[in-house]
Symmetry: C2
Subunit: 330 residues, 2 copies
């Protein structure tokens, strides 16, 4: 099986290619080639048994997507894109990369299929940013998409195109609406959602973190490990399993900041003292427009599974990012 | 008030500019200039008191939208686009005209606003083709968009972009999801929805019409007169009336083919004999995926009003298209 991963140098992309290298197969099919691309050259994951192909490419540039598709990957994980903060501050770049880049990829697939039969599975990393307040208590699978960011708009537009190209038989697309990823690895960033991860990741590594909202703020979370699990499960769904509605809200953990801190306290009471409370009205207002809870019946019935608690999410972080134990402990 | 109408040579565009010429004002503001454009040169309506500007332009071509926006219209009716049958048979043309054309128009508005403050009201003719089966009995205002045609996909993508550009303050957009237009004037065409109009328009003019579905087939209808009324009502809504959800499903008349024929029989029992029943499984299957009834609370609360019956729709057709009486009658 030939696999292509776009956005392979991003947070999700890196974790995905590491997992692919470790597993060696997807849905029971052996990986023979793993092609990885991003705007900067991605690194090959350690222990990859398959042939690797690494390119630095801007998929929004003319011809780039065609070159990636020319070797006819059987499975494409399309994770390339710029993040919400940048899509909001640089409107043209957001539409160019997130919308046009995806469209060029989809069109390259369609044209490859015109030359000789070709219909790859394409797993698109969408986001719950396609939703915007006001919401019902639990957002159902048939609730409309009214994004309140340009990033969410671009993801929703690509979802529509993915559904159309899938309906027309050009590809076999699955759109995976990822929850807020928590605990995001790496350094604190300026994303409005950053604090959800910061308040766990930083104290767990003995560093201070700022909490800009109250403890009753609720969000829909998935660990990086769960998110990669969603993408792999989507990749292995039987063809046509989603009919004409190939975009799916993923299950997640609906939890408050208070739930996060309670779990942190159970792991490390000392870490709790590193939380600095600095209410920020701007972040509070932004976060108020985000979804808090879903009723993702379709994804659950298809076997997608969320994290069960923040204790589990913290344990994954310690295992996957901190070598299995907290700094200064055995 | 300066007005621009794109798609001014199309069915909706022609009726709109005729009405604008007749009224002379929109929302209490006098029309000083009426600019009309389409891929073929539109005709100026009779009795236009305002200055007219007529251009033939492909808004999807580089620079065309900028030229249309350079004179800074206060109000834009964006009705340009190719129809559903053509968008399905020519995929690239559909995305180029319906998506890229709209995007170029929106971007021209955004860039004009970068030069000097500019934020026109833009009324976009969307369609209930943004919806796709399966449906609840009545489709609510927060039901998701899952179009089953490329045309509906393109309309839904433009709706998303309109909402984003409105949220960001580049324009003051209103998306108007028109019901099936019935009775469409003109000749019978090959559109799958054509029979809804054909079975009234043709017999009313003493010509035969083919009915390819059973009498219990239900759809969501609006007369051309009601549709133009929707666009004008949208144009006159106060700024910000729609918040962050500027796309609206219009009220309509939920009626069956049987309801249509009963109304026809009341006007002209003789016309009924001109209906030829030729069941067509392909058309029956297509039509089964179309919405039948909505619960358009938002539009109703904003004052949009539908036709009350097919008797009324037939009367409008006789007044507007047949000079006020049936052929051969006084």
């Amino acid at each position: 099986m030939r696999i292509l991963v776009t956005g392979a140098a991003g947070m999700i992309g890196r974790k995905l290619v590491e997992r692919l290298a470790k597993d060696g197969h997807v849905g029971g099919r052996e990986i023979t080639t793993l092609a990885m691309t991003d705007i900067v050259e991605p690194s090959a994951p350690g222990g990859l048994g398959a042939e690797s192909q690494i390119t630095a490419a801007d998929i929004a540039a003319p011809g780039a997507a065609e070159r990636l598709i020319a070797y006819r990957p059987d499975l494409i994980f399309h994770a390339a894109g710029i993040v919400s903060g940048e899509a909001e501050s640089d409107l043209e770049k957001g539409y160019r990369v997130n919308l046009d880049g995806s469209r060029r990829l989809f069109d390259a697939i369609r044209r490859e299929g015109e030359r000789a039969p070709y219909k790859p599975r394409l797993v698109f990393t969408s986001s719950i940013a396609v939703f915007g307040a006001p919401f019902p208590d639990k957002i159902g699978d048939d609730f409309h998409l009214t994004p309140l960011t340009s990033y969410g708009t671009q993801k929703a537009m690509v979802e529509l195109m993915l559904a159309d190209y899938t309906r027309r038989g050009f590809m076999d697309g699955v759109g995976v609406r990822l929850p807020t990823i928590c605990i995001r690895p790496g350094k604190p960033n300026k994303a409005a959602s950053g604090f959800f991860s910061n308040i766990l990741r930083e104290p767990l590594s003995a560093r201070e973190a700022v909490l800009p909202v109250s403890e009753d703020v609720r969000a829909w979370h998935a660990s990086p490990r769960a998110a990669i699990g969603f993408l792999l499960h989507a990749a292995a769904l039987p063809p046509g399993a989603l009919g004409d509605r190939p975009n799916l809200t993923m299950p997640g953990l609906s939890a408050t900041v208070g739930d996060e801190l309670a779990a942190l306290n159970r792991v490390s009471p000392a870490a709790m003292r590193l939380i600095r409370r600095e209410p920020d009205p701007v972040i509070q207002r932004i976060v108020a427009g985000w979804p808090q809870a879903f009723d993702p019946k379709r994804a659950l019935s298809l076997g997608f599974r969320a994290d069960s608690s923040f204790d589990e999410i913290i344990r994954y972080h310690i295992e996957d990012e901190l070598g299995g134990s907290l700094p200064g402990r055995p």
